[in-house]
Symmetry: C2
Subunit: 345 residues, 2 copies
């Protein structure tokens, strides 16, 4: 467990009522860590931005990474289940791509250990982007003349256009998708005026209620700057028949689907709370449509607490202070396939 | 008919072999004309860019104007029929939004007399963006706090958030989507080296074959800078059983669907040839996958000419010289709906 989270939690358990001071809270780093085998370069980022927005990476030519992880918005699609090719609806809600670089693992069940590994998944998922194989993707990329130059600039060696390089470029781009300078970050850096009175009350209530036990670290995702194994928590932690009847949270076995270990049933990765106000609906199945309800349910099922409407309102005000600054981005130009088209389904 | 087109056509008919000089050809204007009741302003353009990219203007929350008219690419989707909500596929190929400001009318059948009128259509078309009504769209826009400010900046008066203002803003944005400075434009402005030898042969063949009789004016769309009633041409102009069997061009009654006048059967608006290399597949039904085939078919069905492979190659080389410079654009930020979501279908 994250030590400051623990400290706050301990304070909460001890019934301490002193407000957490700014120094106890961590601001989002300005840069995301990059792995040794995929250092971030401007050329990779540029290529990755193009690939991320190119719908020709889907069988129908209509779905790009950005379709479900919209960087013009909160980094996802504000839907319960995302819509892939042939209008197929996925069973889990798209997590935000913003600050995903600070997650220790990716996907709700943590089945990808890196952004690179994550990027490989949806392209060939039959209900997402629907490509038969990455080989088919590479055939398309090689057919588009402009990609040869973009890959050659980003990577050395012959045969630069490959699945591995494509996902490396996408991951490099995603490492630039971070949102610093939220009101909370300014507060954490020492500007005591950055949070208003309600947000400060919310911060205190967040800490005292114990939310920070899981939602710890600068990303509020149980992860120390994207390192480590990641935190998995059982959800719902406390069974609740009424909530189950209403939302069906337990239909999804979570991490068990990956590991098949009995102990992993209903375990989910702790998601970031950064920009959480922009990513409704909530939870792995996207069944909860408001942040107020999400906070109420979390307190109930994870901490056994019944929050008052004022406490919920205060925490939501604090969570709104986690909405950061989105970097300005130039639209990529998707290289053309002059005079020809692909056989989209 | 456009007079320079006529001149070239006349030269062609007279068997003249002198190459058309640069002065006979018109470059694309740097600015698109704007109507008196919707002058282009930076604030409208900014709002329009946001609306254009906002998928919340569709019933599913997944389809924006940009989905089928992708401004990161050739201004459409490189598909035969476009894909709307619930994976419904439209019967006609999306025309490009690039330089649409220079079309006298919009849609393949010219049923919209302005960009403003055009923008109203797809949002409530059940197989495109699927909204039940523009009133429902306005309800959503009013629910998103950030839109109040964007509309207030772009329009005066109370109740600035309206369907009329939304489409005015989208149209204002679209009037900025123009692609000047193609190799052809540089040639037309007097740079005789701007076109290579094959492109020059193609320009001459284009003129001599008579293509410019319909594809005239600076937009190569039979329209003088977006003014006038627009040109409608019967397609196929000359019946051809083999082509009909292969492509089924005549299944679509074209402008007749709008006017119900017998004389309008199979009439279609003359589409622009600007950036035509980027907008495969071709024709109203998007059944022709290569530009080579499109040129061959056009000469056959519209001009009764059988082009040689070299002539086709030369014309295609010339058409590639109509690919312009795409203006750099910053990605819009879609205003959030903090802590809530819409009931997307």
């Amino acid at each position: 467990m994250y030590k400051l989270g623990s400290l706050i939690c301990a304070l909460a358990l001890a019934g301490a009522t002193t407000i957490a001071v700014a120094e106890e809270w961590q601001a989002l780093p300005d840069k995301a860590p990059d792995p040794a085998d995929n250092p971030t370069t401007p050329e990779k980022v540029e290529l990755g931005k193009v690939l991320y927005h190119d719908p020709r990476l889907s069988s129908s030519g209509t779905v790009s990474c950005a379709s479900c992880h919209n960087v013009m918005a909160g980094g996802e699609d504000n839907r319960g289940g995302s819509v892939g090719v042939k209008a197929q609806v996925g069973g889990r809600s798209s997590p935000t791509v913003w600050n995903a670089a600070f997650n220790a693992t990716q996907f709700w069940d943590g089945r990808a250990a890196s952004l690179e590994a994550q990027a490989k998944g949806p392209v060939t998922n039959p209900i997402e982007m629907g490509m038969k194989s990455w080989d088919d993707v590479v055939v398309r990329l090689k057919a588009i003349p402009g990609y040869a130059d973009l890959f050659a600039k980003a990577f050395t060696g012959a045969d630069a256009i490959s699945a591995d390089n494509a996902v490396k470029a996408i991951a490099a781009y995603e490492r630039t998708l971070i949102t610093p300078n939220s009101a909370y970050d300014k507060y954490a850096k020492g500007d005591s005026k950055a949070l208003n009175e309600q947000q400060l009350r919310g911060l205190q209530t967040f800490a005292e209620t114990g939310c920070g036990a899981c939602h710890s670290g600068p990303g509020f995702n149980g992860s120390q700057n994207g390192q480590g194994a990641g935190d998995y928590i059982k959800f719902p932690g406390i069974e609740n028949g009424a909530l189950e009847a209403q939302y069906g949270f337990s239909k999804d076995l979570g991490r068990y689907e990956v590991t098949k270990n009995e102990a992993d049933k209903h375990l989910f990765k702790v998601p970031t709370l950064r920009n959480i106000a922009l990513t409704a609906p909530y939870f792995h199945n996207g069944k909860v449509t408001t942040l107020d309800s999400a906070v109420t349910i979390m307190a109930k099922t994870q901490l056994g607490r019944d929050l008052t409407p004022q406490q919920v309102g205060d925490i939501v005000a604090f969570l709104n202070a986690l909405t950061g600054e989105f970097p300005k981005q130039e639209m990529p130009r998707l290289p053309g396939y002059p005079g020809k088209t692909f056989d989209f389904e």
